[in-house]
Amino acid sequence: MSKTYTDVEQMICLSSRLIEDNRTVFVGYGMPQIAAILAQKLYSPNICQVYEYGAIGPEVATPFKRNMMADARNSYRSFSWMSMNRMMAQAQMGYIDYGFLGAAQIDKYGNINSTIIGKDYEKPKKRFTGSGGGNEVASLCWKTIVLMQHEKRRFLERVDFITSPGYLDGPGARENAGLPRDSGPHRVVSSKALFDFDEETKVMRLIGLCPGVTKEDVLENMEFEPVVADELEQLGPPTEDELKILREEIDPDRVVIGRVD
């Protein structure tokens, strides 16, 4: 049976269900933007999206345009338009419940790399965008949700470069570094599975499987071994409603969500 939806659609739909309603959500660049729009249209109409470019509570206009952040559509019908320093200050103050980020690599403590691949900073094998606002989101929001393509080269024992902090090297490390108390990675949504973090060890923990994916399939495609929950939730596929809104309203050109081959 061939899949009727893409990996990206899977990730977006799954993550859109994770945001509680009536919460503030700091939305990062890329996939999280689309997931937040979907969440607000379908599951949590009263989340208050906030963006590093200063929009508070926009009802982002659709269709969504690729690479766009901070334009009139992204800022449409906000409660307030502020500026970057003010938004970061509010996250630092504890006003922002969720952070919502994409990443190139993640490690077992939820540390995110979006800077370089390779160990030579001066001459990296591969250079990415760098932190953007990701470091602030992962440092300052209460609960961070990360969206990741599930590939072995992306789920690492230790990322080459910690761009944005997860639990660093384990229990107590965030607090020791001076990061806000009780903050940190909350969920990782991959194209195969859902993870939280083990309370005791702060290591990523497998808690759910996407449709048609086995535990072995998940583990084989990770460099490190996550904690595995006693019971694994069977995650639902994208619903018809979700796909309809994604494909018809949010991304009709499928520039982000892609097409089923």
């Binding site: 470019y53 009139a72 906000s78 502020m82 250079r127 965008t129 760098g130 761009t163 902090p165």
Partner: protein, 322 residues
Amino acid sequence: MDVLESGMGEVLLQDVDDVREWMRDKKTRALEEKVMDEHEAVRKFVNDGDYISYDLSSMVRGPMSIEREIVRQKKKDLWIAAKFTLLDTTLLVGGGCVSKIDVGFAGLGRPLFEAIENGIVKTIDWSNGTLALRHLAGAMGVPFLPARSLLGTDTFKHSGAKVVEEPFTGKKVALVPAINPDVAIIHVNQCDVYGNARVYGPSITPLETAAASKNVILSTEEIISTDEIKKDPGKTTIPYYMVNAVVVAPYGAHPGTVPGYYSYDSEHLEEFFAARSLEELGEYIDKYVHSISGHEDYMEMVGGEARMKELKEREWIKEGYY
């Protein structure tokens, strides 16, 4: 309050009193007309080796016409503050103008990454938030500001921040040093001939960047009268005495957007992003920068009045702007 850790990144440190002296002696409080064309503004205020900061970008309200002029005049060895940047960094790096980038968000696309991977430009990694904060420090006339981000990461190690235990409650905090750029380039919606400027919509750091910078070039969609400014002072984002040059540049953010005014040019952007290497980007730059004399020619080249009208119509959201 000992320094517990120091990032290794290079920082352009300036004595706050030297900066104050510059603001006193080199910026005027007189109501002088500052309107000039882009050639003159860049010639006068951008020098090889300068530290340059531009404001909100990500294809939104970026000072593209001025950046193209910087490339056209082949400025060299610039150190740029890349907070929230997409087109801008790529264009300046592609034009061969840049030697160092303070990275918040390094932008998208292979050409830029190729330049970094090959060591053509050097990066110093920060984050959008701490780069914005460094501009705020620069705009407050203090040597640093504290933050609770960066901590514990490699971003910190490669930045020029420091960690201290602060003396009031004993918390570990990061201190980020002020930035006082040599030049700020800011595209605004409206300003008067003296530089009293309005920026509509959410923003990164237009005021902070203008206040902190030793020279400020505004490009503006339109000039309005000072009387109009004075009738609605709550709309003025940047006061005139921070500004050195005003360049009239309608559609100056093209191919990006000015929210509420005109949409980005998605067709042109595809051409920009089609450049998958520095070489291909060079061809784009030859065509759209070096082969023409300035912004007016550029606008003709990308479709003239008719195209602009189209982009204006595409921008159906007007609420909250103007």
